[in-house]
Point group: C2
Chain length 474, copies 2
């Protein structure tokens, strides 16, 4: 009998290996040193291994943890401050974002990351500026991080309509240095649990010279580029003014896209642009719920997939989405694509579960480490409690109904246990490596401060949300 | 000091009175004999009333319970058996529905109703055949019921494409008698807590003569007509073959619509039909999530509202939706309409919360009893726990963010306490008037039987779900 750290034996397991969801009955995983060392029938594992901790489950499903491919955790402290509004960024969020201190941002990050974990996310694809706090929390609490640091050259100020962004080389250099510093500090921490990526904010925010420098530096460090792309008319106007071309054709012409490029959103990419982009081997992350709420748009994920592209899912930010819950993202992706194509067969449940696990790992370039239950990969696993109304009853023949019910019925609180690299972060719905009560209390205290300081600008902007407040609609 | 049954004092209350969401700070409700006898500042209530039970909350929001305007609870036992499929009813659900016994249906009803209650629903708008079991459970567990009994004349058998439904007067009479029996047995039980409605299944399923008889009987009994309408091409074909007219124009010509008519779905109603329907004073119930999943369609609720109509929300059925969670319905209604109109300002959070409470009560004709917190109405209330990541942080100035976070972030498990007619059904997330564990266990046992018996027909139909099973996608 080989001694190992952890063994989980489950009546129902979905490995996400193969073309589908990889269902196995009465099987388990043997875990040692954070890695999956065997996936086999439970009876066989019991004969071969003696585990320090043994988890045997009949009424919980074992599956890979969810991967959130793109989120801005620092916005956690701004949850729901801007909603149902056309100019979401400037008329909704701006007064609050302007008053968010570095500490408040870190408090928001802890809130968003803890929320995501409790909903079953084992890889946090965080993106933003001043990311030390988020990285430190990710390092400490044990979740996996795939962190992109924002690089930007356009000065942060209010621009008039039709005004070209003012680039400042020093500002660009400063943000690039921040990225490199974070890379040195956190990349490959805990044997690769944290990966640092290069995050030029978008083709309109960074000069061509810096974009090229970023690509070279990312390649040298075997990292990736994670970049917003085809975000809408604001980006298009800037690109047309500056280069006479939209983001995708311009970057394609510069050979900027390859299999290490991850494009976020593609909100208004045309069918031709989607094809052009997919042919390069670049990947796409889709934030269905956020883009639907903020822009009223269903991005072209299906077109990208039909053209052979790999597409993952992300929760974006709590000031617009308003939650970090990959079950919600799976549901919204499935349903929004059905109505977009007026076809209930589009984006079936099994596909969006893949997009939240193995295909997201492929999109982020970490599928050799995580995203499915396979010998040799890290043990990033969740247990989902079946003894919940939302998942009852369970059919196992002639049809298995767990996958559709996980996508269309589950809420997030069915997730029971969360394991990353073999370490149990949450067990029986109780967080072990972080204190949820403290995180909630801290976030609340920051919000009270932000609200007070944001009031004058909020009133001054006099946007739709001010009107709603006056009309007793909020 | 006047002695009363129950008093709830809340730092944050949303009454849903007025045009918006009716926010009150530091106020409460005095409840006696199941009714709200006062809504006033907490300090004032404390001086005037001595309550047998006093609930004082700072970290929970007090608001009216949700109303589910249209669901088929008996399908609870078929949760998620048919998904991502074009011919959902025949190629997906049929093999399972055919094997569902009366007892299994009742078990499904208990599951669906208990699930809805735990997600904050205080009025169950159930619809179907053989409803004694559902009515009895509603009577016993204390939730409010607005029950329509299905009346149908078209024989239940497989029809060839292009074949006109065969009407059987005896079958029609039998279903009408069932409706009348249930009316006598349950209407106005517990001082009006249960209302029985007349539910002709659709304009294509019932003859003109019987439709007219139903209308007369409903009027005589001061009841309502609750009917599926403009459900799609299947209905349209039948109506065109039989009458040369679609459902809405045909029924309008017969003066069938008035303020006591509730039309369900309107999936493919044209803009002209929507206007025609709204002008009659008839009401609409929208099942956003179900119709998006089953048909890939966003029904014309906004058009109906723009034409002056009152529209409520429903969760439809667990074999297609797959949950009974009005927070999910609010979210899907807001988001699906945004993408349908490509406008984030369409269907704001405050509007869908109204559609799940006061406007649903208006649609069902029970707004004099429930749907808002107002002196004289029954005490149908919920408390929502703010100490959850999904609702943290709470902003109270300059903007209140509870309403958008309830719609876009909450999952359902934030609902903490459920009160109907002053009786506490659920307290601190624990059911008091029903046993959730028993309900889950029973539903599971029924499903095991149904699955076994459904297998031959499931294989024989050889639909998309069979293919998914073969491909390891479920």
């Amino acid at each position: 009998m080989k001694k190992i750290d952890l063994m989980i034996l489950a009546e129902h397991m979905y490995t996400m290996e193969g073309e589908g969801v990889g269902y196995l009955a009465n099987s388990g995983v043997a875990i040692n040193g954070g890695k999956i060392i065997a996936v086999a029938p439970s009876e066989q594992l019991k004969k071969e291994y003696e585990a320090e901790k043994l988890i045997t489950v009949g009424d919980k499903v074992l599956m890979p943890g969810f991967i959130d491919g793109h989120l801005h955790s620092g916005h956690g402290v701004l949850r729901g401050v801007a909603q149902d509004i056309n100019n979401w960024m400037m008329h909704g969020m701006a007064p609050f974002e302007a008053q968010r201190s570095y500490e408040a941002k870190n408090g928001g990050s802890r809130l968003a990351i803890a929320e995501a974990i409790m909903n079953g996310t084992t890889t946090i694809g965080d993106d933003g500026t001043e990311m030390e706090g988020a990285c430190q929390f990710i390092k400490d609490c044990g979740v996996r991080g795939n962190i992109s640091i924002r690089i930007r050259e356009a000065l942060q100020r209010v621009y008039k309509p039709g005004e070209l962004y003012e680039y400042d080389e020093n500002y660009g250099q400063k943000t690039l240095c921040e990225c490199l510093n974070l890379f040195d500090q956190f990349n490959d921490v805990d044997n690769g649990r944290i990966k640092i990526r290069f995050g030029p904010q978008g083709p309109d925010f960074v000069s061509e010279a810096t974009l090229m420098k970023v690509k070279k530096m990312a390649k040298e460090r075997k990292s990736k580029i994670h970049m917003h792309l085809s975000q809408g008319s604001r980006e298009t106007k800037q690109m047309m003014m500056r280069y006479g071309k939209k983001g995708i054709p311009w970057l394609a012409e510069k050979d900027y896209f390859d299999c290490d490029f991850i494009g976020i959103h593609l909100t208004d990419a045309t069918p031709e642009e989607v094809k052009l982009f997919s042919k390069t081997g670049a990947k796409m992350i889709l934030c269905s719920s956020s883009i639907a709420i903020i822009d009223g748009v269903v991005p072209p994920a299906k077109q990208f997939q039909d053209a052979g592209g790999i597409c993952g899912l992300g929760s974006d930010q709590a000031s617009g989405n308003n939650c970090h819950n990959m079950i919600n993202e799976m549901k919204m992706t499935a349903i929004l694509n059905k109505v977009h194509y007026e076809n209930p067969e589009v984006m079936p449940a099994w596909k969006v579960v893949r997009m939240a696990t193995i295909e997201n790992a492929q999109a982020l370039g970490i599928d050799h480490i995580t995203g499915s239950i396979k010998e040799g990969k890290d043990a990033d696993l969740i247990l989902v409690d079946l003894k919940q109304a939302s998942l009852t009853p369970l059919y196992t023949k002639p049809i298995r109904n767990f996958i559709p019910n996980l996508v269309y019925s589950a809420r997030g609180n069915e997730v029971d246990t969360i394991i990353v690299k073999g370490r149990i972060l949450v067990e029986n719905k109780t967080a072990i490596t972080f204190n949820m009560e403290d995180i909630l209390r801290e976030a609340q205290a920051f919000a009270d401060e932000i609200g007070e300081r944001a009031t004058p600008q909020f009133i001054d902007i006099n946007g739709k949300n001010v009107q709603y407040m006056k009309e007793q609609k909020l």
